[in-house]
Amino acid sequence: MKDELAWVLQAQQGNGEAFTQLVEEYQTHVYNLCYRMLGEPEAAEDAAQETFLRAYQNLHRYDRGRSFATWLLSIGAHYCIDRLRRRKLSMFSIDEENDDGTTFEIADASSPDPEAESVKREDRDRLHILLKGLDETDRAAIIMRYWYDYSEIEIAESLSLTVSAVKSRLHRARRALAGMWQEDEPRSPRARTERRAYESPAF
């Protein structure tokens, strides 16, 4: 944290090396958001680079009282939302693009049960696909909430929304995801419950 502030200060004074340190530190943070928002590795790489470029160009506007990570994610989320809206306007479907597998999920070394981990991975992949069906801003709110553990206040700050709007967007997105999940897997609730017998339904 102390290092981060020092790098930000140095970068604001024009030190390119310090900004490179910030890129190294936050590349996964920003790239993951862009990947979850846009759905493909190439677009995510481009959006993440553009996010850092915008941050570099607007570094003088950064308020040191705010978290640098939140500021970066805010730039990235707005950029991805705009990009998705432009994409929608040009009637271009993201489902038509292929995933070339150039992303790497951070492995969970602590997993004791490979089978359970494999099921979880399957569900995560499914979730990644279903995310594409959400409204852009709802998608950003869900990503910030579950991938970054952001509070509703932080999400509101990052997406320029009110806290009550964030709450309602999160609930709407969760309901939409459940609906899509149900359509995607028309299995009986019993089968699902049995499959999940090893897990607690309450979080």
Partner: protein
């Protein structure tokens, strides 16, 4: 089917009592929607971050260098076009004076007087037209309507100026 209070428990992501958990389990066995809500909740709570391909930082450096070079080129071309355009306009405006510069003193004085007369006549005509408009138009509309119109115009102008100022000063997300 009534999904309450189970839907709220699942959406709020807060711990529940053992008795509530039993009720929820029973509900999940008979409700497809809440079961899907619970499954997506579990999936969302087990998400992981993905990293970019190796060399992201180096690729960013390359892009930054290219962007800065493009910016420099854009600025250079902007300056060249601005200077060239300015020179063309300046020459166009100054051309009559430049030609009169080479003319005899009598021709120069005549063109100067002619230009002065044109300026004075134009200004007088504009003032007269303005006073006629100001005399005639108020009779068409009552003073109250004028107040409303002017206030609306001022409000829209203010809104427009503030929007442009905000857009320029605070780009989205920055």
């Amino acid at each position: 089917m009534n999904h309450q209070p189970f839907e709220d428990w699942l959406l709020n992501d807060k711990p529940i009592q053992p008795k509530q958990k039993l009720e929820l389990d029973a509900h999940l066995r008979i409700c497809n929607y809440c079961a899907a809500l619970a499954e997506t909740g579990r999936a969302l709570h087990s998400v992981k971050k993905v990293s970019p391909a190796a060399g992201f930082s180096a690729r960013f450096q390359q892009r930054l260098v290219l962007q800065q070079a493009a910016e420099r080129r854009r600025r250079l071309w902007g300056a060249v076009l601005f200077t060239f355009g300015g020179l063309v306009i300046l020459l166009w405006i100054a051309a009559p004076y430049l030609t009169s510069f080479f003319a005899s003193p009598a021709t120069r004085i005549t063109s100067l007087v002619g230009w002065g007369v044109f300026l004075v006549t134009t200004l007088r005509a504009m003032f007269e037209a303005g006073s006629v408009v100001l005399d005639v138009i108020p009779s068409f509309l009552p003073p109250f309507a004028w107040m409303v119109l002017l206030s609306a115009f001022a409000g829209i102008s203010l809104l427009w100026s503030v929007s442009i100022w905000r857009f320029v000063r605070f780009p989205r997300g920055v």
